[in-house]
Symmetry: C2
Subunit: 156 residues, 2 copies
């Protein structure tokens, strides 16, 4: 156990973590789409241009997965995370196109101890992902579970 | 244009589409996690067993991406889908473990024409994904855009 790893107690409302930057290529968009979302606008440049997305566009689920990766690198891998029970909402506000570079931030909104799981607390975040033009491409809120510091001290 | 492909007009409240079945392997769980969610419980059997997930468990985003794939195969690839603006909520109710087989259904809740995008309508779905023990592992609601039949007839 490292003293530096974040516990529930370290997440105070207003605390903000930077996400990214992370670029996305046409090949990555097509690979993800082939496996998980093989709709034409995610597989083919011409089909993307003909759709309301306006170009070869990442599946919303691909954008969400990249957001997850940025969150892991930003703070989750340096924490006692216990995973998340879901997503309160996720908005795909603008298309993410081949060549875009994503960045953003996750901000702590509120925290609470869990009665159902002693020793674990829930942290609610607001997440925003922007492209290189500072346009909001994805917005979400969700809660993530973290081990409480006193639990670690008891079992140390 | 095939007459068989579903337009907005074909989605009536109560209509239900079967999803899956689709199995998930340990190698797939680890591959997805390495790329998008490299937390220990998604990468390693022992770390998974030590976590509240109880075994090598898929990232919730992996479960969501597989749900997307099942939805594409069930009805989206046979439709005039124009993509989705997001997810109203998504709950990861139980861990999805290596060897699990997922199935489920997407049910039309309501439909409405879009004032902002003439010729396109929005269909709201409730989605449920179950494992081979008929346990609910994932539940979500979201809306998907489809071209209206009259738009196709005008441009045919």
């Amino acid at each position: 156990m490292s003293d530096q790893k974040l516990t529930f107690d370290d997440f105070q409302p207003g605390l903000r973590f930077a996400l990214g930057p992370r670029s996305i290529t046409a090949a990555e968009i097509i690979d993800f789409a082939r496996e998980f979302d093989p709709q034409p606008m995610h597989l083919d440049e011409a089909a993307g241009r003909a759709s309301i997305l306006g170009g070869l566009a990442a599946s919303g689920w691909h954008t969400s997965a990249l957001f997850m990766r940025m969150m892991a690198e930003s703070f989750l891998l340096n924490s006692f995370s216990q995973g998340a029970p879901g997503v309160d909402f996720m908005e795909w506000r603008k298309p993410v196109l081949a060549g875009d570079t994503l960045s953003g931030h996750s901000t702590v909104m509120e925290t609470r101890q869990l009665r159902s799981r002693p020793g674990i607390g829930m942290v609610k975040f607001r997440h925003e992902v922007l492209n290189q033009k500072a346009e909001l491409v994805c917005r979400a809120e969700n809660s993530i579970m973290f081990v409480m510091r006193e639990t670690l001290e008891k079992t140390a």
